[in-house]
């Protein structure tokens, strides 16, 4: 093993630039002649746009142009599409009206872009945007998830009856009904998975540019997946042919899903640059991010769990209303279906599962995948109902889970909801978490809290997720519009250092380091001799990008395949140089050696020979550069246990996280430091969802009430104790690295762990987020009952 290869906590290569202010984010890009876009947005949740008086803005200082939906349509640009087809129970296709780049005639959520002003400075663009006269006729709006499909609600889209995009189901209904008929105990639960706003710290931004010489349109933008953006913009929006469109995603300041999607504003900047023949830039103000970045979650769910007399699970049935917002965003339809209900089996043997999802349109910002994407929602259902069942049955929550875990010798395990888990050892991480959290002495800590007037509670979440998305054939069979393989190229330079081109994209995950470590181990080149290039469709092979904890499992596997090709070719060249048979050449630690001898050539010497092939094997191409595409054989299944302890102040309802333990099985680990960091960040987002974060709409007007950090509560440093994290390892069985992915686990499990703890402390149901207000109200409503006992 090399000193900086797989398994070592190598300090990150990218950090120096970020720590010295030398990072290069989209808003840092400065183009000659650039002008600024400012968007005029609908102040109404639902309104017809009756007229726009362009003249009111065109005469303002510095204004170059004002564009509306009519201008975009006149240029033949299409609508932003949904990327995943879902079919109704009766087999008919879902209804997904496309999202116009600029409102054509009817605004459908507060903040939807109605027009854009282009001016010499941002202040001038903003001044003119404020002055633009737009006449609206407000219409009644549909806002609430749970009631949007009820008859009589205002129609978000005229051709979508009852605002229902689709009604979808999974599993065996009859078998599940039969399981419930035989149950000794049934636990029922009504839960809300609160709507969230992703809030990557870097706001979305774009710089569009058109080169009349090459006729290439370039869009610098905050994207997690530049090639996918290029494909969508070419194939669906008709912005430019794929070969004449370049997307560059430079340093990107966090994504969490919100930068997967193709949005109106970025697209309009690229288009407008051609119209005004100047580079056009836009950076979202945070208040714009709040109303236009795709939101996350927003489910209303009823679930029931059937058990026999011993607490063995017999069946699970779940009904969810999922809010898509005003339009189906790119992955917006996959998230509450295939990324959600396929995980309803959790870590358990549940013989029968049946789930239904009604996806509804509302006059709210579109909802799409946000860190975890469907899997946090699934974990929340499963782990909340399992814990509730344990409390109802008077069983220790750990005990009930152990009675139902899939056992290590039962893999591969086929769940009743499509997925086949390849490997795992669930008791192992539960046991380790119980130890790390000193669960045995919880009652002592609870008594100590009580002595200080505090209510202490403990909650578990034993989560599983399907990551490393995804086998393309499976994706296609389930309605996905793309393949979800990944690509990579390894290029040895003549002087022996290496440039790696990956289709993945790093926006905080540390790919520049982790992928270099992979090269260090597989090719024996030190990390500092490896440059990882990503994020530019002109420079990197076509790639599907980074989301769903897929970069290492899929993108990393592509690089391993490419490295194997490098070694295979290198052996041919080394055999020639060493005057040995290719079959006798071994490759370890960057050296090609003739087996059983000390005759060797370094990979750098081989690379040089490949580029200066004066003494070279016949029939072998010059150069040492290999590409590979990797299509995964299955999802990966990271799993783990989180245990949260909270203290509740009964006077104020304030919840304090006093202990948080996470033990995860991510398979093989490339860089444990980076992995721990991913877990910490995920937990913070999960805790944020459980206790603080909530996108709240006025139910009548559709105004976003939590539209800034003044009202949308972001987790801060003093909201957390020191986190306790640990690892177990069952390597993934079907990718060459044995890795599973770690980017989402924290956010997937934490809401359930925290809410189980809060419920345990308070003694009654509280919905997320468990704000001080809600906890206090729950305690007030529980108080009379407690007094009566």
């Amino acid at each position: 093993m090399t000193a900086d290869g797989i398994g070592v906590a190598v300090r990150r290569k990218e950090d120096r630039r970020f720590l010295t202010g030398a990072g290069r984010y989209t808003d840092d890009i400065d183009r000659y002649g650039q002008v600024y876009a400012c968007f005029v947005r609908s102040p109404y949740a639902h309104a017809t746009v009756d007229s726009i008086n362009k003249e009111s803005a065109l005469g303002m200082p510095g204004v170059l142009a004002v564009f509306t939906g009519a201008d975009v349509a006149a240029d033949g640009l299409g609508l932003l599409p949904a990327g995943w087809m879902i079919h109704n129970k009766d087999g008919s296709p879902m209804k997904t009206p496309g999202h116009p780049l600029l409102v054509a005639d009817r605004a459908r959520y507060v903040g939807e872009a109605v027009a854009v002003v282009i001016a010499e400075t941002y202040a001038q663009a903003r001044d003119a945007a404020d002055a633009l006269e737009v006449d609206y006729t407000p219409l009644p709006a549909t806002i609430a998830t749970g009631t949007a499909s009820k008859p009589g609600q205002p129609q978000v889209h005229d051709d979508v009856p009852n605002n229902t995009a689709f009604d979808w189901c999974i599993g065996d209904k009859a078998a599940t009904e039969a399981a419930f008929a035989n149950a000794a105990h049934i636990t029922k639960l009504d839960i809300v998975n609160n709507r969230l706003i992703p809030n990557a710290m870097e706001p979305r931004a774009a710089v569009g540019e058109y080169d009349p010489g090459t006729e290439i349109t370039t869009l610098y933008t905050t994207s997690q997946n530049p090639h996918v953006a290029r494909l969508v913009l070419s194939a669906f929006v008709q912005l430019a042919p794929e070969h004449k469109l370049r997307i560059v995603a430079p340093d990107v300041g966090g994504g969490f899903g919100s930068k997967i999607y193709v949005y109106a504003e970025e697209t309009v900047c690229a288009w407008a640059a051609r119209k005004v023949k100047r580079p056009v830039r836009w950076t979202a103000e945070r208040s714009e991010s709040f109303v236009t970045d795709a939101h996350g979650r927003d489910h209303v769910t009823h679930a029931e769990l059937a058990m026999d007399a011993n607490g063995k699970f017999l069946g699970l049935r779940v009904k969810t209303f999922a809010n898509l917002g005003a339009f189906a965003s790119l992955f917006g339809t996959a998230t509450p279906t295939y990324l959600y209900m396929t995980l309803l089996s959790g870590q358990y043997k549940i013989p029968a599962i049946y789930g239904e999802v009604d996806a509804v349109y509302t006059n709210t910002t579109p909802v799409d995948a946000y860190r975890g994407a469907g899997r946090p929602e699934a974990t929340f259902v499963v782990e909340r109902i399992v814990e509730t069942a344990a409390r109802e049955l008077g069983l220790d929550p750990a005990d009930l889970r152990r009675r139902n875990f899939i056992q290590p010798d039962e893999f591969p395990y086929q769940t009743p909801v499509l997925l086949q888990y390849d490997t795992g050892d669930y008791d192992k991480h539960l046991t380790k978490a119980l130890d790390l959290g000193d669960y045995a002495n919880f009652t002592i800590r609870k008594a100590d809290s009580a002595a200080r007037g505090k209510l202490r509670g403990v909650g578990f979440a034993c989560y599983i997720e399907a990551c490393g998305i995804a086998p393309s054939a499976a994706v296609g069979a389930l309605g996905g519009g793309v393949g979800l393989w990944e690509s990579g190229t390894i290029r040895f330079n003549p002087t022996g250092n290496v440039t790696v081109h990956t289709g993945s994209h790093s926006h905080g995950q540390g790919h520049e380091t982790a992928f270099a470590q992979l090269i260090a181990t597989h090719l024996g080149v030190p990390v500092d001799q490896v440059e990882v290039v990503h994020g530019d469709t002109m420079q990197t092979p076509f790639g599907m990008g980074t989301y769903g904890s897929r970069s290492l499992a899929v993108g990393g596997s592509a690089l391993v395949k490419a490295a194997d090709k490098i070694v295979a070719k290198g052996k041919k060249i080394a055999a020639h140089l060493l005057e040995a048979s290719e079959a006798d050449i071994e490759f370890t630690d960057g050296k090609f050696t003739v087996a059983g001898t000390d005759k060797a050539k370094s990979i750098q010497e081989v690379a040089f020979a490949a580029y200066v092939p004066h003494n070279y094997p016949a029939g072998v191409e010059p150069g040492l550069e290999e590409s590979a595409f990797y299509d995964p054989l299955n999802f990966t299944f990271p799993a783990g246990t989180q245990i949260c302890e909270v203290e509740v102040d009964p006077d104020t309802g304030e919840v304090e996280i006093v202990q948080f333990v996470a033990v995860d099985d991510f398979g093989k680990i490339i860089n444990p430091m980076i992995v721990e960091g991913q877990v910490h960040g995920g937990i913070a987002q999960g805790v944020g969802q459980a206790l603080m974060e909530h996108a709240v709409y006025d139910q009548d007007t559709g105004q976003l009430l939590s539209g800034s950090y003044m009202d949308y509560c972001m987790p801060r440093a003093d909201d957390f104790p020191t986190l306790k994290v640990g690892l177990t390892e069952t390597p993934c069985t079907h990718n060459p690295l044995g890795v599973k992915g770690c980017g989402e686990a924290g956010a997937i499990a934490a809401p359930a762990a925290v809410m189980n703890a809060v419920t345990n402390a308070v003694g009654t149901m509280v919905q997320m987020p468990a704000t001080p207000l809600r906890v206090w109200e729950a305690l007030q409503s529980a108080a009379p009952a407690a007094a009566a006992e």
Partner: protein, 265 residues
């Protein structure tokens, strides 16, 4: 932000003159509320008169048994002042809990009370301590200064020079912060003074900081947290929003009041 004119006078007299000469001018103290307001285009003054260069508005001193704090003294300077810590440590709690460290490095006492945000901390402290606001033209008792949400007794062009805080026998401030904005949802300042107990509440009511006479009476008779047990805070007139109902804020007022009393020792 809309376009605006800017001046940075060096004396109180020049500042007052500059403002009166402006069409629709505003004093700029620390700017921790004003600048975000301007950035969001929620206000459009013609002129900003920056008070940052006026020496006579700075500093912390004593006046007999009282503390006198210059209007442009930052929250950080108050929070770190040994003089304040020894005379009225409750003011250290107040100033040290406003905003975040960067806000405290710039935000000022004068700016805070002139703005009279209903969720600001200082108005409660002034009312609780029976402070006096000294302006360029007069002295105004705190009880007469705060007139409701974002309203004060200041006349057009009148400038706060300093605040005089009489030293109490004991005082404490307990605050429950809005989880998102960290502004006060219910902040209660309690002071035992030679002339009686004073209780002031900030953050809970739409009208801003106000005295709680029922609590003052109860504590006058028995200065203990338990003395507040029989009191029910009336939720009428208290704010109700996504962070807290009026009933919840009423509860917080009582809880924070008891904690402040307990902290008085």
């Amino acid at each position: 932000m809309y376009a605006v004119n800017y001046a940075k006078p060096a004396s109180v007299a020049d500042a007052v003159a500059a403002l009166s000469a402006a069409e629709d001018g505003k004093f700029l103290a620390g700017g921790m509320t004003l600048i975000p307001t301007l950035k969001q285009r929620l206000a459009a003054p013609s002129d900003l008169v920056d008070l940052g260069a006026i020496g006579e508005l700075q500093g912390i001193g004593t006046d007999g048994d009282a503390l006198v704090i210059g209007a442009m003294t930052t929250h950080a300077d108050v929070a770190r002042s040994p003089l304040v810590a020894s005379a009225i440590p409750a003011l250290v709690t107040v100033a040290g809990g406003i905003g975040d460290p960067q806000v405290r490095n710039v935000g000022t006492l004068g700016g805070s009370i002139a703005n009279n945000d209903p969720a600001a901390d200082y108005p409660g402290a002034l009312l609780g301590l029976g402070a006096e606001v000294r302006t360029n033209s007069r002295t105004i008792a705190a009880d007469d200064f705060f007139l409701g949400m974002f309203e004060t007794a200041l006349e057009d062009g009148e400038l706060i020079v300093s605040v005089r805080f009489p030293k109490p026998l004991a005082a404490a401030y307990a605050k429950f912060a809005n989880p998102a904005s960290r502004y006060s949802m219910a902040g209660v300042f309690v002071a035992r003074t030679a002339s009686g107990v004073r209780v002031a509440v900030t953050g809970a009511a739409a009208g801003g900081a106000h005295r709680m006479e029922t609590m003052e009476k109860a504590l006058q008779a028995d200065f203990s947290p338990a003395a507040l047990d029989p009191i029910t805070v009336n939720p009428n007139g208290l704010n109700s929003d996504l962070h807290g109902s009026a009933a919840y804020r009423a509860n917080l007022v009582k809880v924070m009041a008891k904690r402040a009393v307990a902290a008085c020792g």
